[in-house]
């Protein structure tokens, strides 16, 4: 079998497991008791190990193996979750990532493997298992006073029994049941670890322990002998409990009752997270397609739509009914094709956001700052091309927020802020844009400092500065050749300024803006258009020009009799189905001359904006049409009322109405 065939699959799948490792370790760092996260990362490391082994990548496999060991020690609480161990694991993840992307850059793994090994003391997993087994911590049995009284009033022998099942045992709970059944002949079971319920649900490792009250004549060896003969029971260890008092745990009991409840909730949360992570794996039963291929498909489909429209217009001009009829299903298919392609191109912004928790953590650590990163709207979908491009600008802005924005924990405490700085990354739809915001509660940008720097760097002249408002001064950070930091820090001083960010965003037909308040923090606002969109709309005519009103906002199209029109506070309205609908003349709104002729019926498109309806009065309605939105570069002028342009079948341009803007003006 030629393994190179599986190379790509291996690469993409290991990428996913590395992501899971990253995510779960991040969660673990903030919540060190989160057992589910340890298990999750353990499973990911384990899978990676297996995959790499199958591929014959022994070094990768070994690295994953030592990671697995450390995670196992964490699980058994032989190691504590601290920054050191997390850093070490991240280092391993980074190396594995590098290995899967560009293996030639990784020179020697031995050093790292040794480092991990020495951290886990004596590496091999087998040893770990043995140790944890023989150490069988009797203090883990905490029993109530009543139970203790029963034990004390009985003259039986109290023993602990540790059972180790074979690694590949399938129905562990059934083996446990068989153990319990045999034990019935020897005495009474007091406690089982993990609980009976957990065992029943197979929520256990390959071992479990029993606190047992045996009959007075109990022979340890007999018990071992009977239990070891149960299939798939690997090892049995029986210890006599000498000092019953060590089981007493009165104070702890009360606490435990309470914390048990918490634990349950925790577990639910852990489960959520775990399901989410594993869902990510499952839902990824996908094939990967080169974006370029998708682009060319997209372009072909757009072309097809235009051509179809052209054919349709021929059919209409020559009244070819037969042709028109045959074109209808074709038009349906092309529409569906188009939607399908569009959807293929849309991806959630979480693809970009996902890497930020880790990035922010590392940055914060490097800069000795404490950061609480909040991410919102990660499901917001954007066109793939944009997703691919916004990563770097976002990283830069995040760096800025953490490096220049958020103060050190000490400084923050001094000014009465939480030690932890808040950095909020959010994405949401707004009209035809997707807005991405990066907000921090740091020290903000001081316009006076910007003024000084801008002059020093020759970005502006004194005269230009004098006429500028603070809010405009702040925007100078986007000017070419501007960098506010006097000393070049390791983090943001990489020769890239905010001007590069701005250029990049603008090349994506977007815009970037900033607001800031000294002492309160700054907000970067990126607006990205939903370009490449194709919309269904109604083509209308206003003053000899064609306008498209997007179908999604259209409620209905009516002919309004001028007699129906009333004036309420100088606003023309009509009454329809008990509600008052304001009328907007598109001629007036688009700065066209008013129509002089009197009309008996005014074609009006009723649109819905938010919860309100408006009537847009047009000259005439041409019909429903599907158009490809093209961005209009409006140079210096702001063109809010128009969402874009669309090229019609005859090559002329129709303007697409921005319904929100038209109606709110």
């Amino acid at each position: 079998m030629d393994m190179s065939d599986f190379q790509e699959l291996y690469a993409s799948e290991s990428r996913e497991h590395l992501d899971i490792l990253n995510d779960s370790l991040l969660t673990l760092e903030n919540d060190p008791s989160n057992m589910e996260m340890i298990n999750e990362s353990f499973r990911a490391a384990h899978t990676l190990k297996g995959m790499a082994g199958t591929m014959g990548f022994d070094n990768v496999s070994e690295l994953a193996h030592v990671m697995e060991n450390i995670l196992d020690l964490l699980r058994d609480e032989k190691l504590v979750v601290d920054t050191e161990v997390i850093n070490l694991l991240f280092k391993a993840i980074d190396t594995l990532e590098l290995l899967s992307n560009s293996p030639e850059e990784v020179e020697n793994l031995d050093e790292l493997i040794d480092e991990l090994k020495s951290y886990s003391q004596d590496g091999d997993l087998k040893d770990v298992e043995k140790r944890s087994f023989s150490d069988g911590d009797k203090n883990t049995f905490k029993i109530s006073d009543e139970e203790l009284q029963v034990i004390e009033s009985n003259d039986g022998k109290v023993i602990t029994i540790d059972i180790q099942l074979e690694d590949d045992c399938v129905f562990k709970s059934l083996r446990a049941d068989m153990v319990f059944e045999i034990l019935e002949d020897y005495g009474d079971i007091i406690r089982v670890l993990p609980g009976v319920e957990e065992i029943r649900k197979e929520e256990m490792d390959n071992n479990f322990s029993i606190l047992f009250l045996g009959k007075t004549d109990l022979d340890k060896d007999n018990i071992v002998e009977s239990l070891i003969h149960i299939s798939e029971v690997d090892r049995v260890k029986v210890d006599l409990v000498e000092d019953i008092d060590q089981l007493r745990a009165k104070e702890i009991i009360n606490k435990e009752v309470k914390s048990n409840k918490d634990k349950k909730e925790d577990r639910v949360n852990e489960k959520d997270k775990a399901t989410r992570l594993s869902k990510r794996l499952k839902s990824k039963s996908t094939i990967r397609v080169d974006v370029e291929r998708l682009d060319s498909l997209m372009n072909l489909v757009a072309e097809l739509v235009i051509k179809r429209t052209q054919v349709e217009s021929v059919g209409e001009s020559y009244n070819l009914d037969e042709l028109n009829k045959k074109l209808k299903p074709l038009s349906k298919v092309t529409t569906e094709l188009q939607n399908a392609v569009m959807e293929m191109r849309m991806v959630p912004i979480s693809l970009v956001f996902n890497r930020f928790p880790r990035l922010v953590r590392d940055l914060a650590q490097g800069l000795e700052k404490e950061i609480n990163l909040v991410i919102e709207g990660e499901d917001t979908e954007l066109d793939r091309t944009i997703i691919d491009e916004i990563g770097d600008p976002l990283v830069h802005m995040l760096r800025n927020a953490i490096d220049h924005g958020v103060e050190s924990p000490e400084e923050r405490e001094k000014v009465g802020k939480d030690r932890k700085g808040l950095v909020k990354l959010s994405a949401f739809h707004e009209g035809n844009n997707v807005v991405i915001q990066i907000q921090d509660d740091g020290k903000g940008i001081n316009p006076d400092i910007i003024r000084q720097k801008a002059l020093e760097k020759g970005v502006v002249t004194q005269t230009e500065l004098e006429g500028m408002e603070d809010s405009d001064v702040i925007k100078l950070i986007f000017a070419p050749g501007f960098s506010t930091n006097t000393e070049i820090s390791d983090v943001s001083g990489r020769g890239v300024g905010m001007d590069v960010v701005k250029t990049k965003i603008e090349s994506l037909s977007g815009s970037v803006d900033i607001t800031s308040e000294v002492g309160r923090g700054s907000t970067f606002i990126m607006k990205l258009p939903l370009t490449l969109s194709i919309i269904q709309g109604f083509l209308t005519k206003v003053a000899n020009q064609e306008y498209v009103i997007p179908l999604e906002s259209i409620q209905e199209i009516v002919d309004v009799n001028p007699k129906e029109i009333q004036t309420v506070r100088s606003q023309k309205v009509i009454h329809r189905r008990g509600s008052v609908i304001p009328l907007i003349s598109l001629r007036k709104n688009l700065n066209k001359e008013a129509l002089t002729e009197k009309r008996n019926e005014i074609p009006t498109v009723i649109v819905e904006v938010g919860d309100d309806n408006y009537g847009l009065m047009v000259d005439s309605i041409i019909g429903q049409q599907e158009v490809v939105i093209k961005r209009i570069n409006d140079l210096s002028e702001s063109l809010q009322k128009i969402a874009g342009g669309a090229i019609l079948g005859d090559g002329s341009i129709a303007l697409i109405i921005n319904v929100e803007e038209i109606t709110t003006n």
């Binding site: 020009q545 709104n589 688009l590 209009i632 570069n633 140079l635 702001s638 341009i653 303007l655």
Partner: protein, 153 residues
């Protein structure tokens, strides 16, 4: 040693001749149907469909504050590159492509026929004509009013 030369496209607006570097020019097309935009700027004539792309078109007559002229056979749109995007300039006519010796370029006067020095890289005399070499990016970026003083006949 040969002097540096550059190619310049010369076009007419009213009675003046202007030049732009050929490297800034994307293409020259005949007048097309212009779609007006609902905006207040008079300089921006509207948008055109350039092989499926929509580009904005500036009326240089209006930009220079001289009265409109009915389009003629000679009217052209010069498509130039402005900050990475295509912009069309409506001109009365495109007359020639000149090879200019850089040494022949004179510095622009402080103000010339109403156009500020910022918009001019220099002037050059071609026989009895004066060609004003335009600094396109400054011209397109600015919103300032320009009044071309045409000599009264």
């Amino acid at each position: 040693m040969a002097a540096k030369t550059r190619q310049t496209i010369v076009f007419d607006i009213g009675d003046e001749k202007f030049g732009v570097r050929i490297t800034e020019v994307y293409e020259i097309i005949r007048m097309k149907k212009i779609t007006e935009l609902p905006i207040s700027s008079k300089y921006i004539a509207g948008i055109i469909n350039l092989r499926g792309d929509i580009i904005s078109v500036i009326d240089l007559r209006r930009r220079f504050g001289i009265e409109d002229l009915e389009e003629t056979e000679d009217t052209r749109i010069i498509v130039v590159d402005f900050e990475g995007q295509n912009v069309g300039l409506i001109v009365d006519a495109v007359s020639e492509v000149l090879h200019i010796n850089e040494d022949d370029i004179d510095l622009p006067p402080k103000s010339m026929v109403g156009i500020k020095g910022d918009y001019i890289t220099g002037i050059i005399k071609i026989e009895e004509d004066i060609v004003i070499l335009l600094e396109l990016s400054n011209l397109l970026r600015s919103k300032e009013k320009i009044k071309l003083q045409t000599e009264e006949a």
